[in-house]
Each structure stands twice: as C-alpha cells, then as structure tokens.
Amino acid sequence: MGERVLAVDDSASMRQMVAFTLREAGFDVAEAEDGVAALALARNEAFRIVLCDVNMPNLDGIGLVKALRQMPDYRFTPLLMLTTESSPEKKQEGKAAGATGWLVKPFNPEQLITTMRRVLG
C-alpha cells in the first residue's frame, strides 16, 4: 500500500505496536506522542489516515481531531480514534469533533488492519 499514515499515542508501547503492525502491512508510518506533536507533523504533510489515542497529555485525541478537521488538507481525511470500551461517550464526543470512526482497545494487529481496510476500501 505504501500509504503515508500518522499514529498518535502517548503510550510508547501502544504506539510501537500500532506503528509496527502498520509497517508490516506496508504502510509508511509517522509517529507522534501527543496531539501537539501530531499537529506539528500534520501541518507539514497531508497524511492519508490519522490514528490517534483519546487520552493524551497536552492535546488529547478529541482536540486533535477538531483541530485537524479545521485544516483544509484534512477536511475529508479518515481520522480514527483508538479508544477503550469503558468510555462510550468518548466515541460520541469524538464523532462530534469530526472523527471518522474508532477502534476499541484492546485490539490485536489483525483488527487494526481490518479497520484500515474499512477506510481504504
């Protein structure tokens, strides 16, 4: 696929897992550890897909999605939230902010790839 995607998570292990899985699947992955770092990267290039954790310091996933949707390059970009089942209201909050969809933690690499296919066809 070789698509350029951005993985955002403050947890290094989750970020590594997501990035590693996506790279194995042929994606070209950039990583950011919070919303602020992600925005800085997103300003420089238009990623095909952004995957972000919800709970992050500095700028959380909701804030990141909102900010990205304001940017011309990201008006229709798939923005996926990596969320936990314990917070269904976060999904709605994320949707209201402009998220495309979500993947519920804990997920395994196969589920992650399935989700990527959902937005890439």
């Binding site: 403050d10 947890s11 290094a12 292990s13 989750m14 590594q16 897992m17 590693f20 899985t21 194995e24 699947a25 550890e33 919070d34 919303g35 602020v36 770092a37 954790d53 709970n55 992050m56 310091p57 500095n58 700028l59 959380d60 909701i62 804030g63 909102k66 900010a67 949707r69 008006r75 229709f76 970009t77 798939p78 923005l79 936990t84 314990s86 917070s87 209201e89 709605q92 909050e93 949707k95 209201a96 902010a97 402009g98 998220a99 495309t100 969809g101 979500w102 933690k105 804990p106 997920f107 395994n108 690499p109 196969e110 790839i113 959902r118 937005v119 890439l120 066809g121």
Partner: protein, 651 residues
C-alpha cells in the same frame, strides 16, 4: 499478513507502566481531598488508562481487569460524579501497590494470579457500587435472519467525518449477497450541486445468515450521520430503526503545559557502559601518546605536539560528556519518599512534612540504585526515633508537624545528601549509657562528635523497643558500611531538642575513583582515597612485635596492626624494615590497619576496570586501572583486606 509477536513490545509496556504507577502514586499523594486539582486527577486517570489499554493489548488480561476497576473509579472522580475522600486515596494507593506487584510478576515471566488482589478488587468494586453506578445492560444481539433490508440515507455532511458511503456498501457486499438500489431523489440540479455534500441514499437487500450485530457494525461509525433502518427480510413487517440523536459534548480545552521529558530518548544502560569503557580506553591511549611525545624535540615536532595537546583537551571533554549520560537526577530516588513518609507517619501517628531540596542534582545511575536502601533507612529512623509525637512537640513549644528534609547538592567531585529532622535530637547521656550496656568502648570524656559516632557501631540501636518501622535488624552500622562500599562517608550532627542531621558524601560515579597510588617494589597499587586516614613514616620505637599478633604500630595512643603489602601480595624484591617505609593508615568497618608500602606516588583519578569481568575475582583486589604509561595497577579492596588481615593476625 503474518501474525505479529506482541511480546516484542512488552519491555516498553512494563517500563512505561512502572513510570505511570510512579506518576499515579506521586499525584495521589499530592491530591488534596478538600481541593481537587482537575489536572492532577486527569493525570492519574491517564496513567491508569494507559496501563489498562496496554495490558489488554499485550495479553495481560488479569492486569487489565484489575486496572479497569481502578480506571472506572478514577473516571467517576474526574468527571465529578464522586467525591474524593482520604480513604479513597488510601484505597487507590494500595491499588497502585497491588498493580505494581502484578506487573512485576508479569514482567518476570510469572503467571499473574488475580486471586492475590482479590480482596482489593472486591474493595474497589464495593467502592464503585457505593457510588451508585448503574451497570450497563449488555446489547442484545438478534438471531440471524435469512437476510436484511437496509435503508441507508446519509446526512449531507457525512463526508466531513471522513467516511465514504462507497466503502460501507463494499463492506456490506463482503458480508453476503447484496442488491443495492441507489435513491437519487434528493439529488439537486447540477448548478446547485455541492460536491462536498452527500445527496444520495441507498436501499440494500442483504441475503445470508448474517447477525444484526455484523450489519450494525458496518454502520457503527456513521449511525449518527445518517438515517438508518435495518429490518429482517422475513414476511413479518419491518420495524424501522432510526439512528438516535446524540448531543455533542464540548471537548475540554487543550492544555498548553509542555512536557519536560519530550526531548529524551531511552538507551539501554549496556550501550552507555560500553561507550564509557571505550572512552576510558581512549583516555589511556591518549595518556600513552602524551607520555611518548614528551621525549620528542619540541622544535621539530611542534605541529604534532600541538595536535596532541588538542587531543588531550578533546578527550577530557568527551570523557566528561559521556560520563554525564549515565547521570540521573537524584529525584529518581527522592521521589519515593513522599509515599514512604506518608505511610510511616500514618502508622506512627505523627505529623510530618517532607521537604525535598535539590532533586535535580545529578549522579551516576548505579550510585542512585545503591543509595536507595540506606536513605530509606535514614528517613525511617528520622520519623521513628527522631521526630516526637505531636503532643510531645507541642509540649516542647514546637510546631506539631515535624519536618524531615532531604537535600542533595554537589560539592567538588562529590554529591552530598543530607537527611535532617527537627526532632528531639540525640541524647548524649542515653547514647553513652546504651553504649556501655552493649559493651561498646566509650567514656564520659568523649567529644559530642565521637559520641554520635557510637550510633554507627555494630549492634547499636537507640530505640527502647524494636518497632516494625526501624527495627528490621538493620542498624546504622549497615548504612555506614553500604555508603563506604560506594566510596562514600557518613557524618552525623545533632543537638538535643533541635534535631539530627546525617550527611552522606558520595563520589559522583562508580566508574572513576579518587585514588592514592603507592609503590611496592616495581608495582603500583591504588588505594581508594576515601579509606585512607593518614600516612606516616614511623620511628623504630613506634613498631612493636606482639607475640602471636604479628607487628603493630603505635599511632598516638592506639596500636594498629601492620601489614606489609609486599609480603601480602608476594611482590618480588627485598623487604625494607617498617621504619624505612611509609605506613598508610586505612580504615574499614571500624577497624584500622597500617599498610606498609615503599613510596607514596601521588593522588589521581583512575578509571576502574573490572578484574572479575576480564580475569577473575582476586581476594583483596576490587579492580584494576591502566596508568598513563600503559602499566596496569591493581586497586585494593580495603574492606576485604582489613577483614582478611584482622582474621589472619588473630589466628
């Protein structure tokens, strides 16, 4: 795609989880139930949340399950649905401890037994139930029908969420045999068409044994952005289901606080050690070049000598820079004390304020790891023996809340750590009485400083009764021994009624040693400077041979056993009589020994090389170093030599 082995992420997961627990602990301790700071509780929640997410992802279900309760409780607290009480904080702290235990077991490859945390789990569950949380009803899943009739009418703004109806339809096609009919009724004329809005709707007949959940899942992301009905393809009349409206919640404003640690990377300590070792070699090579070049004619070799002196400067700067990578702020060990003090104060019924000063002071990671236990012991001592109960303090006209201060600072090439309290101080009379009771040599004429030193004598304990706080069979003598093993020293100052201060002085690193080089025959030996008391050239009348006890030397009014290093290590060459040699007085574990050497060569910093790793362990030798001229010099292990020599002389 080949399946991915998740264990490769475990190390990072454990590292970040333990860090997360430290954050939770520190934040919980900082949490004031009267006035809850939302950022603090958010930080605690985030840490728990990350641990749960990681544990679930990486296959530690028991940990994820336990953390889930913790997280739910924290979530209710941060949402303001639950008041935060002091018992809640205690419960959360205990949960943090339990979690640390579970994670440690998992990290070390053990099977995590959820039973070990069962009582705590029950307590958390009870606490949650007490908050009146309504358990969520499980979503019912309908029996698979022969197929589904789906009406999918996206709202115009669907595209703005990044979703694409085409992909959804394709996904449905993968579930079963789909007949898709497009409804173009809402399509405006071309002139009025907004290409960024969705104007189409679809009716899909999906045949096959497909569960409602599978169909609903395809629309999960868009159910609020469309009108959707999913009806069974049976003779029974369809029951339309429309997507419910959900009110939007405004996200909390982004926080602007920068994170301090974002500019750091993780490096394995082994890599840094390898780097330090290589730089050590470089320093030696450089010193050898320097020595060789000293024989060269400065006029003919000006450029070369200039280059060498530049190499000398750069090598030194490089060495310092590399050494500094092993340096960590002492906060790494200080940060555990708020918890220690909190728990202990509660147990002892005392009010204690902990003051941390100079947490940013840096020292070698290996030293940090080794001072943790001695410091804990000193802090426990301060709380248990040093500080009075609130009543006693009030009676003495002091603030009911005592203060324990932990302070770190740099002094020269050393780090100085002080543990001070404003408690009752040491009582000269009690100490002397105790010492004579224990058979420790003492007398009324001793100076205060000498009396305080009695505390470090083996087997000394001032507590009238052994408590479960300080009396763990580890005395101040062990603290002193541990500090000395690091090449450091311990001093104690006290004033009755005003408090006690213990000062620890440590080398910044264990990779370098302040040494005194001495010559024995043709060999050079290094003595750790911290063990050296004095050196002297004795008069013949100071030397005595004692039957059965070897030779002793009288230094002032004390007889110190004498050990000729030449005989001890069987160095070839003729032995000199003691009065034609130099005696270096060393001390370890309270015992003195006079080492007889031929000459004092000088004081220098040496880079320690492990003898064990490169050769094998040798009794009385703690390591080796390479001198500027390329020769190897052995570093003496004074503590061991003193022990072996006292035993040999006594036998």
């Amino acid at each position: 795609m080949a399946s991915i082995d998740l264990s490769r992420f475990h190390r990072t997961f454990f590292e970040e989880s333990f860090e997360g627990l430290d954050v939770m602990e520190a934040s919980l301790l900082a949490l004031d139930p009267e006035q809850v700071d939302s950022e603090t509780i958010n930080g605690i929640f985030r840490a728990a949340h990350s641990i749960k997410g990681g544990a679930g992802t990486f296959g530690f279900e028991a940990i994820a399950g336990f953390t889930h309760l913790l997280e739910t409780l924290l979530d209710e607290m941060r949402a303001g649905k639950r008041a935060i009480t002091a018992p809640d904080i205690e419960l959360l702290l205990r949960a943090v401890d339990a979690l640390r235990g579970l994670l440690a077991t998992a990290r070390d490859g053990g099977a995590v037994d959820p039973g070990t945390v069962e009582p705590l789990r029950a307590e958390l569950a009870q606490c949650l139930a007490g908050g009146g949380v309504v358990p969520q009803a499980a979503e019912r899943d309908e029996v698979p029908a022969s197929g589904w009739r789906i009406r999918f009418a996206p709202k115009p703004e669907l595209f703005a969420s990044g979703n694409d109806p085409l992909l959804i339809l394709r996904e449905l096609q993968q579930l079963g045999d789909a007949t898709i009919v497009c409804d173009v009724d809402a399509l405006p004329s071309f002139g009025e068409l907004d290409p960024e809005s969705c104007h189409l709707a679809w009716t899909i007949e999906l045949r096959g044994e497909i569960s409602r959940a599978a169909v609903a899942d395809v629309f999960a992301w868009v159910e609020d952005d469309c009108d959707l009905s999913i009806a069974a393809l049976t003779p029974t009349p369809a029951q339309p289901q429309s997507g419910s409206k959900v009110e939007s919640i405004v996200a909390s404003a982004p926080r602007a606080e920068p994170r301090g640690d974002s500019a750091s990377i993780r490096v394995a300590t082994a890599k840094i050690d390898a780097l330090i070792n290589l730089v050590g070699e470089l320093v030696i090579t450089q010193a050898m070049l320097q020595q060789l070049a000293s024989h060269l004619d400065p006029v003919h070799n000006e450029a070369l000598l200039q280059g060498l002196s530049q190499l000398d400067r750069n090598t030194r700067v490089l060495q310092e820079a590399v050494m500094s990578t092993r340096m960590l702020p002492v906060d790494a060990v200080f940060s555990r004390f708020p918890r220690v003090v909190h728990d202990l104060a509660g147990k002892l019924g005392k009010q204690v304020r902990l003051q941390l000063v100079g947490e940013g002071t840096e020292l070698d990671k290996s030293v940090i790891e080794k001072i943790s236990d001695p410091l804990t012991h000193l802090v426990r001592n301060s709380l248990d023996h040093g500080l009075e109960s609130p009543d006693e303090r009030a009676a003495a006209g002091k603030d009911g809340c005592g203060t324990v201060t932990l302070k770190a600072s740099h002094q020269g090439g050393h780090i100085v750590i002080e543990v001070a309290d404003d408690g009752r101080g040491l009582s000269r009379g009690k100490l002397l009485a105790k010492a004579s009771e224990k058979g420790i040599a003492c007398n009324e004429q001793m100076s205060d400083a000498e009396v305080w030193q009695l505390i470090f004598a083996p087997g000394f304990s001032t507590a009238a009764q052994v408590t479960d706080v300080s009396g763990r069979g580890v005395g101040m003598d062990v603290v002193k021994k541990n500090i000395q093993a690091l090449g450091g020293s311990v001093e104690l100052a006290s004033r009755e009624g005003a408090g006690t201060r213990v000062t620890i002085r440590l080398p910044l690193t264990l990779a370098i040693l302040d040494g005194m080089s001495v010559a024995v025959g043709d060999d050079i030996y290094i003595l750790p400077l911290s063990a050296v008391v004095e050196s002297l050239q004795p008069q013949p009348e100071q030397i005595r041979r004692v039957a059965g006890e070897g030779t002793v030397v009288r230094v002032r009014n004390e007889y110190v056993p004498l050990l000729p290093v030449k005989d001890w290590f069987r160095v070839p060459g003729a032995s000199r009589p003691p009065h034609e040699s130099i005696l270096v007085l060393v001390e370890a574990d309270g015992h003195k020994l006079a080492l007889q050497v031929d000459e004092l060569v000088g004081q220098q910093q040496v880079v320690i090389k492990s003898l064990e790793a490169n050769y094998k362990r040798v009794a009385g030798i703690s390591g080796a170093t390479i001198l500027g001229d390329g020769r190897v010099a052995l570093i003496l292990d004074i503590a061991e030599i003193v022990r072996l020599a006292t035993r040999a002389l006594a036998a």
